[in-house]
Symmetry: C2
Subunit: 120 residues, 2 copies
């Protein structure tokens, strides 16, 4: 089997740096395809393709405006990602693992200490 489609979910969609740049740019408001392509230094077809992926996972919306198509951000799909990654927050705060080990060692030390007390 091949790699999952970029359109399978938001996780795959934002794995591509250029698509992340598109999303960041769209925080400033709606943009036309040509504008996006120009500002991000990519070809128009590439912009269209990336926008299609973002559209299929629901991270952007389109609005027709004459000849142009204005793409706007729809960040709701990013929320599950934020929450999933947030579930690891306590683990990247400093030396959690070492602290965890430290706590374990501490407990063990106390037990041994208690055992020594019992012996005496």
């Amino acid at each position: 089997m091949a790699r999952a489609a970029t359109t399978s979910d938001a996780f795959n969609a934002i794995a591509e740096p250029q698509r992340r740049e598109i999303l960041m740019l769209l925080r400033g408001g709606e943009r036309s395809v040509t504008e996006l392509a120009r500002d991000l230094g990519m070809s128009q077809p590439q912009a269209s393709k990336h926008l299609r992926v973002l559209r299929e996972v629901g991270l952007v919306r389109v609005r027709e405006a004459g000849k142009q198509r204005l793409y706007g951000l729809d960040a709701r799909g990013l929320r599950p990602i934020h929450e999933w990654v947030g579930g690891f927050e306590r683990f990247w705060n400093g030396t959690f693992d070492r602290l965890d080990e430290y706590v374990r060692d501490l407990k063990q030390a106390r037990q041994e200490e208690a055992a020594d007390d019992d012996d005496q």
Copy 2:
């Protein structure tokens, strides 16, 4: 050019559901490859391959323990992702975009109103 390597960064690494499951499981502590494979219902080679990817982007660490290799979580690499996605937090809170549009419409309505006043 083809798609970026899964080992290029954490964004690509966590795009794969099974790798996300591995990370979630490792929140409970270190696990051996066989344990991971069993608990997640994947073959041992697949587990090893996914772990290699996670290792190369620095999301897990290995510790040799006799015949086994215990993999542990190193979530620090998830922090940049959390922060990047967090930059969109205000955009998924409720009807931000509509509120934005509403504010625009309101401004425009006020300007037209002012113009009408001038006319009269």
